[in-house]
């Protein structure tokens, strides 16, 4: 008898098998019952996640000095050990994030009482683009306002 298929997330015996066909491209993923329930079998994101998790750990073994979590564990669980793991596994996770999230830079809120740097950087880029467009359209009144905004945000970011 052939070996039973292993779960793509945790290496347990897989009992749920998913096949996804997108424009003729066939992708197969196998899950144990626990991971299938957790990840929501039938969900397209699960395919991307399982696929990306498998690719992250291609390099040499890495261990988080803060919590002792390893890349092998990450492949097994698809979850990280502690907030510091994000820094430790950062390079490897970049590819995974592009795959799962499409983006790698936070542009949203920050915790209470801190400066939302991501949000500011995002606004700076947008304001710079709007400034270029306003100048091209010879809308100098708007351009002047945007120039001031760009200068203000840039100063704010410089002082951090």
């Amino acid at each position: 008898m052939s070996n039973p298929l292993k779960c793509s997330v945790c290496d347990a015996v897989a009992t749920v098998h998913l096949t996804q066909i997108v424009q003729g491209k066939v992708t197969k993923v196998d899950f144990c019952e626990a991971c299938a329930a957790k990840g929501g079998a039938g969900d397209a994101a699960v395919f991307k996640l399982a696929d990306a998790v498998n690719k992250v750990t291609a390099g040499p073994a890495i261990t988080c000095p803060q919590c002792g979590f390893t890349d092998v564990e990450f492949r097994r669980r698809g979850r990280l050990g502690c907030p510091s793991c994000w820094q430790v596994f950062g390079v490897a996770l970049g590819g995974l994030l592009t795959k799962v999230q499409h983006e790698i830079q936070h542009v949203g809120r920050a915790p209470a009482g801190t400066i939302p740097v991501g949000q500011l950087r995002h606004r700076l880029l947008a304001a710079q683009q709007e400034l270029t467009a306003a100048i091209a359209a010879e809308d100098y009144e708007t351009a002047a306002k945007l120039r001031d905004e760009v200068a203000r945000i840039a100063t704010q970011l410089d002082t951090l």
Binding site: A36, A37, R79, C82, Q101, H106, G108
Partner: protein, 357 residues
């Protein structure tokens, strides 16, 4: 503090007259947050998890929003009580299945925070009907209040740091629970589901991931949490929900017009069956109640009866039926209790008439 109080207390999802709307049953916002310097719950040792739970519960119960709140430690609760909380969407199946998780639930059941689920904190706000901005504003205030008393793990590049890469960044999952009998009857639901998933939204059943869409109810939520601002995530979901509501109404009117008396007959038969059945399974009652909700939306039944239908959908779930009885029941026992509760609630319902909407 008991789960019986949760069942007995009136709240806007099950009781408040006028809070219910056609199509969108409820709006929900969830934020994933973690404490700095602690391992995530899935990797933390029991002692750490205990310390995390104590810190979080201490901080949460100080907040005005959680005055006189319910605090439930999963390890102390009987199976049935945990199942009730899951059916109410106040805690997840994952939290309920572990021993070290806890939940702090506001008195009005609008806000709940799960402690030691996949992340240290899962802040959740839910409102009846479609109120995306209002729901978000409460979640944002709660997030700021929690962040002011607990050190939250955050990086400028990656945002709020979470255990799973699918939540990092904003940690925000915004969702709408929608009732789509028109699109289901018209046979368009698969097409709609496909369009939503291609545009980055997840479509799930009534109880979330991996569940079936009983009663034509679907949960629509954003997938991406990184690289988009909270505002952009909310606008994206909001735009789609508006489109869905329009499409659902078009489908309802078209089906009602094409089917004529057959349409009204279908709804009237469901009322008849629910009013007389002695045994009702969970799936059967959900599907029939879906017809009654549709009837209330379309003026075949008075609109002010809609909250009764919504309450029966929630209270007809297996753990709810047993908790009300105060004992575990076998399948026939549950079906019998459910049928009795439905018969009593629908006793004074008027007859189903022709659509007016």
């Amino acid at each position: 503090m008991s789960v019986q109080e949760i069942l007995a207390d009136e709240n806007e999802l099950t009781h408040l007259l006028g809070a219910q709307q056609s199509v969108v049953l409820s709006t929900r916002v969830r934020l994933a947050r973690n404490l700095e310097g602690f391992p995530f719950p899935g990797w933390a040792k029991p002692a750490h998890r205990k310390e995390i739970a104590e810190r979080c519960i201490e901080a949460l119960t100080q907040l005005p929003r959680f005055r006189k709140s319910h605090v439930f430690k999963m390890g102390d609760l009987p199976d049935l009580d945990r199942a009730v909380l899951v059916e109410r969407h106040l805690v997840s199946k994952e939290l309920a299945s572990g021993k070290s998780g806890a939940a702090v639930i506001s008195r009005d059941q609008t806000c709940s925070v799960m402690v030691n689920e996949e992340d240290h904190l899962r802040i959740q706000v839910v409102k009846a009907g479609w109120h995306l901005r209002g729901t978000w504003n409460i979640a944002e205030q709660l997030d700021d209040a929690i962040g002011a008393s607990l050190g939250i793990a955050f990086s400028d590049e990656l945002g709020f740091l979470t255990a799973c890469p699918t939540n990092v960044g904003t940690g925000l999952r915004a969702s709408a629970m929608v009732h789509l009998p028109g699109l289901c009857l018209a046979g368009h639901i698969e097409k709609v589901t496909r369009a939503l998933s291609q545009d980055g939204l997840a479509v799930r059943g009534w109880l979330g991931e991996g569940t079936e869409a009983a009663g034509n109810i679907f949960q629509i939520s954003n997938q991406q949490t990184l690289g988009l601002s909270e505002d952009a995530i909310l606008r994206h979901l909001g735009g789609w929900v508006k489109t869905l509501v329009d499409q659902e109404w078009n489908a309802r009117r078209k089906v009602a017009q094409e089917e004529g008396e057959r349409f009204v007959d279908r709804l009237a038969r469901s009322l008849g069956l629910l009013r007389h059945a002695r045994l009702l399974t969970s799936a059967e009652s959900m599907n029939m109640l879906s017809h009654l909700r549709l009837a209330c939306d379309m003026g075949c039944l008075p609109e002010e009866r809609r909250h009764v239908v919504d309450r029966l959908m929630i209270e007809g779930q297996p753990a709810h039926v047993q908790a009300r009885q105060g004992a575990e029941l076998d399948s026939d026992g549950r079906d019998s209790r459910r049928a009795t509760a439905v018969r009593e609630a629908l006793r004074d319902f008027p007859e189903v008439g022709s659509p007016t909407a």
